[in-house]
């Protein structure tokens, strides 16, 4: 049984935001009442808050720094975040900033996480320079768990090379992450894949195949889709 | 027996050496040096009184003075 609160963490640039947005949309499609909270204090752009309009149009509650302050580099957490712990009618997606510096923002909610179960996902892209090896990934898991004072429950294989992703990248990532899974006893919950590559994935892959659509695109890629 | 030698043309005539000489043997020369100062000197007849303490050299800002003993 999934917990009501899903926390997406990972190394900076691992693809947490795209997955969080897609995950929130998936929950919405399942008919749930969904809130997504942007707790990213690390990145100035390419954040969930950039997609507020689209998400709200789909009926998803977005908790993010108001647009008026979004560019103020304040690195602050929206006060409303507390409401997701209090109002248990919501299914919640927490998009957390990268690395331990981003995960540290979760520490202040420790009390709530003690009271209520949560699913913390750790997103991995093995095409990223610091998480291209088992050792590198283990180091990040350790740092993020320490900074957030939470435990990772599931791994997500989000190995990709942006618009140059080949199926072999995903499979190579899968091998590394399987090794991490073996060592940590943390299961692989999802394998993220662009829709056009789904058919190329082998059937017996560990974890659920999760197709996503990209939202964090630069302007020249948006118009060409 | 001690001896001080002045590189007179480097002297700027500030008089620090004169003020600190414990035996008061340094004075301004009546002659002018290349720059037009009255440089500090010790007259030959006073050199015998020099203690070789190097106080003058230590107060000189312009590396004018060498002291031997």
């Amino acid at each position: 049984m999934d917990s009501r609160i899903r926390v997406f963490t990972g190394h900076f640039g691992s693809g947490k935001t795209e997955i969080a947005i897609n995950y929130a949309l998936k929950l919405k499609n399942e008919g749930k009442k969904v809130a997504i909270a942007d707790l990213d204090i690390v990145n100035p752009y390419f954040c969930t808050r950039d997609e507020t309009k689209m998400l709200e149009e789909k009926g998803i509650r977005v908790i993010a720094t108001s647009k008026d302050f979004a560019n103020a580099e304040l690195g602050v957490i929206p006060a409303e975040t507390l409401s997701i712990f209090n109002d248990k009618s919501y299914d919640v997606v927490l998009d957390v900033g990268g690395d331990d510096q981003g995960a540290v923002a979760l520490g202040q909610y420790n009390r709530y996480f003690k009271e209520e179960d949560y699913d913390m996902y750790f997103v991995i892209n093995t095409s990223r320079p610091f998480t291209n090896s088992v050792e590198g990934i283990l180091e990040y898991i350790k740092d993020i768990e320490a900074a957030s004072r939470l435990k990772v429950k599931y791994l997500i294989n989000n190995t990709n090379l942006s618009y140059e992703t080949h199926i072999n990248h995903i499979l190579k990532g899968q091998d590394i992450i399987k090794e991490v899974s073996k060592l940590t006893k943390i299961p692989i919950k999802y394998v993220i894949v662009m829709e056009e590559l789904i058919d190329k994935l082998p059937k017996e892959i560990e974890g659920e195949v999760f197709p996503i659509k990209l939202y964090m695109l630069p302007p020249w890629r948006r118009d060409m889709v | 027996m001690a001896k001080v030698t002045f590189r007179e043309d480097r002297c700027k005539g500030c008089g620090h050496c004169i003020a600190v000489c414990p035996v008061k043997i340094i004075e301004f020369d009546e002659k002018l040096n290349l720059k037009g100062y009255h440089p500090a000197i010790v007259k030959e007849e006073n050199m015998g009184k020099c203690l070789g303490c190097a106080s003058c050299a230590r107060m000189c800002p312009d590396l004018v003075i060498t002291v031997e003993k």
């Binding site: 900076f12 320079p129 618009y163 630069p218 302007p219 | -």
Partner: protein, 357 residues
Amino acid sequence: MAEKVLMKGNEAIGEAAIQAGCQCFFGYPITPQTEVAAYMSRRMPKIGRVFLQAESEVAAINMVYGAAGSGVRVMTSSSSPGVSLKQEGISYIAGAELPCVIINIVRGGPGLGGIQPAQSDYFQATKGGGHGDYRLVVYAPSSVQEMVDLIQDAFDVADIYRNPVMVMGDGMLGQMMEPVEFKEREAKQLPSKADWAATGLHGRKEHHVINSLFLQPEELEKHNEKLQKKYAEIEKNEVKYEMYNCDGDLDIVLVSYGTVSRICKNVIKMLAKEGLKVGLIRPITLWPFPKKAFEEVVDRTKYGFLSVELSCGQMVEDIELSVKGRKPVNFFGRSGGMVPSPTEIANKVKEIAGGAR
């Protein structure tokens, strides 16, 4: 071929510098380039090199000045307001003829401006910035891969001409993620630093002095003439640009650098469907400006040029100087951190072409 990795522009800057042999990095946090320093702080100590967070941009650039005078490869990184602060040091470094690389991930201005992507530093990058008659070589990459390649060039060019080199990207380039490859590069034959670097005498007879002060007006003028000669050499040898879709007769040529040029390429494809032949001149070096690219197309371009910028027309004067009044030079830009959509730019092109008809 090295394996490709997915990197944020700012991280790729750090890695490219490391691979180019950057021994020291001195920085100060400012959005949207902070990840450069973050990357360097993680990597440099592990390979026995220097990362230091300075107390200010002013201090950081002066640390660069010191390290550059010691003859090592050194880099700093900042964003527009921080680069304004660095201008004092940049002028000294140019005056003392020292090599270094300065990264500028541009945000909107003036003043504190805003953190969204902009190209508001064209003037301060290409027209001097600090005091005195000096020039920086300014590279303006349009992709993360090109940024990586140009940073490696930047260190070489800095060493060859003993001159500071700026690699300037808009915030978009710093923040976005793209696949990159760190290519194996042939080591270039570069001039020795032994005849000028202040490294300690170590048996050398003449002491070396790193300095930009010239007491005699004649000496300073001579020094300035020497600098100007050097800049002329750079103008001759180091111009880089891309010409896209510029064959045959053209209706309009867009002029655009950095990430905006990628939007322009989409515009060109869109307009081709509507029967308009649009080319693109993309300066890769903003100084020296690619004047000769304009010579190639000016006579074949019906309605002239359109400068597309994330600033209020700072590049227009350079285009006009290159076009020399032979064809009209138009401008379309967004500022404040707004990025124009392909449609907006296409509409402007159609307005110019239509208006002329």
